[in-house]
């Protein structure tokens, strides 16, 4: 019996952490109130973590669109099908690359910032002060950041997609001299709004929730020391990235 216990001992901590993070999520969701201060707080966080990620998302989106087009044209040229480039770029972008890359970038840019900020608030006793003033830190600190992430990631994904298409246009039409009319008509007829675009946006909502939950949970449970906050920040990026890819496969297998 004890040998069996030891065999699975490595599972205890991940299972405990998963359970605690789910309870944490339930506590956050149960403290949602639709009132002016909470809406103001969510909008403020959406600006801080969403709007401030715009530049990195736009630059990356543009270059991802260009490199996708470059690879696609190289491959399709061998079959004389380079006019299909917009279809290939659009499908791969809206269904997979847009949501996944945006979520990964968001985890690196905003997820780490959320974890570090909450961890430092804990290390400097701000969370303790809130509890002692009868202010619920989960409602005041964690929830607005979680909701802001949930709102921001789908919007950023849509923007990433738009900029990637622009990158593709610049490279395919501007540099490789493909026909603009063919490019846009293939994109229009081959991409389905609900299946391709909305399917990707659903994925991005799940990714936004995952990254934000991981970020606020690790910040909230960080050890209140410099090293503790550093470790929590690293864990946020690592776990968010792994979860994004695992959930991407699961959702693609079952739903899209």
């Amino acid at each position: 019996m004890s040998a069996q216990e030891n065999k699975f001992a490595f599972l205890v901590e991940p299972v405990r952490q998963s359970g605690q993070s789910l309870l944490f999520l339930l506590r956050m969701l149960s403290s949602i109130r639709i009132n002016a201060p909470q809406i103001r707080s969510v909008l403020q966080q959406t600006y801080l973590i969403g709007a401030r990620s715009l530049v990195i998302i736009m630059i990356c989106g543009f270059f991802v669109g260009m490199v996708l087009s470059l690879q696609a044209i190289n491959a399709l040229e061998q079959f004389g099908a380079s006019d299909q480039v917009s279809l290939l770029v659009g499908k791969s972008l809206f269904r997979e690359l847009g949501p996944v890359l945006t979520a990964l970038l968001f985890a690196g840019r905003a997820g780490t910032a959320i974890t570090a900020e909450i961890g430092l608030m804990k290390a400097t006793n701000q969370l303790e002060a809130m509890e002692l003033m009868a202010l619920d830190p989960i409602k005041t600190v964690a929830l607005p950041r979680f909701l802001a992430g949930l709102i921001s990631v789908p919007l950023l994904t849509a923007l990433f997609n738009a900029l990637a298409i622009m990158g593709s246009v610049v490279f395919s039409i501007g540099v490789m001299d493909l026909d603009g009319g063919v490019f846009w008509s293939k994109l229009q007829t081959g991409i389905y709004f609900y299946q391709d675009f909305v399917g990707g946006i659903w994925k991005s909502i799940v990714f936004g929730g995952l990254v934000s939950l991981v970020a606020v949970y690790f910040g909230y449970t960080a050890k209140p020391t410099g090293a503790g906050v550093g470790t929590a920040t690293t864990n946020t990026v690592v776990l968010s990235s792994v979860l994004i890819l695992i959930f991407d496969f699961i959702m693609t297998s079952f739903f899209v």
């Binding site: 608030m121 400097t124 701000q126 809130m130 509890e131 003033m133």
Partner: protein, 274 residues
């Protein structure tokens, strides 16, 4: 006159009663056999060596920790028996000043002080503004409401934190090392603010501090905690004259005495030749 009535001769009843308190962390006993009565309107200090359990007493009184044995009663409420909801309501009536002020770094000075008011009352915004500005001006900092906490000196940040702690007019104030890390002028300013506010508003103040000189100038009564127990208690004058070896060692900062300098791990004592 009962012993603790000397904390505040005008007080008729204790605001805090601690009975046979025991608190452990794992197998280590942090506090044992603690009995205290703290009279309403008084200012009382907890002193003792680092790690003696002074802050733990504040956390037991604020309900952050629950005792393993014994009871903590504040304002007639048994703290260890309160539900989360009741604890939330209870904490609306206490103010806290922590060691580094613990201002919310992402909010302005004004928002820091206004946050508890907005959370716990439905006052219209102009009234919130007047209340916050009056507290800021009471701590001598009118005009800095738009600054961020990182723009303030240590003494100013501590005064803002004090304004935030008293903005809801609490009956009980908890101070955890409120004078640590400040220059002598800031120390005197904060100490005077604490004492004058306590007397003017009839608050009860509990202060954890290491600073014997400031303690003598500020409080009515003092408990010295050492080795998990109350090693001595009395007014600052009585403690200064005390012949109790532990109290004498602490009050006069002596190296030799019953309070050990070396860390003593639990278990059997060991020597260099073991």
């Amino acid at each position: 006159m009962p012993e603790t009535r000397r904390q505040n001769p005008e007080a008729t009843d204790p605001i805090i009663r601690i009975r046979d308190l025991v608190f452990r962390r794992g197998r280590k006993t942090i506090l044992e056999g603690i009995n205290m009565e703290i009279m309403r309107g008084s200012m009382v200090a907890f002193m003792g060596p680092s790690g003696a359990g002074k802050t733990t007493i504040l956390r037991l009184i604020s309900g952050q920790l629950r005792p393993d044995e014994g009871t903590v009663e504040v304002n007639g409420q048994m703290i260890s028996e309160l539900s989360d909801r009741e604890l939330h309501d209870f904490r609306r009536n206490i103010g806290v000043l922590l060691q580094d002020g613990a201002l919310f770094t992402d909010l302005t000075v004004f928002e820091n002080i206004a946050t508890p008011v907005r959370e716990h009352t439905r006052l219209p915004e102009p009234l919130v503004r007047r209340l916050v500005m009056s507290k800021l001006s009471a701590v001598g900092l009118g005009g800095i409401e738009d600054k961020m906490p990182h723009e303030l000196s240590g003494g100013m940040a501590r005064r803002v934190a004090f304004a935030r702690a008293v903005v809801m007019d609490p009956a009980l104030m908890l101070y955890d090392e409120p004078l640590t890390g400040l220059d002598p002028i800031a120390v005197s300013t904060i100490r005077t603010l604490m004492r004058e506010t306590n007397d003017a508003l009839g608050l009860t103040g509990l202060v954890v501090t290491h600073n014997v000189t400031q303690m003598e100038k500020m409080v009515d009564y003092c408990y010295i905690i050492a080795s998990a127990k109350v090693a001595g208690e009395g007014t600052p004058d009585e403690l200064r004259r005390s012949t109790h070896p532990g109290v004498d060692q602490f009050m006069n900062g002596k190296v030799e005495g019953p309070i050990a300098f070396h860390y003593q791990p639990p278990g059997e004592p060991w020597g260099l030749l073991d």
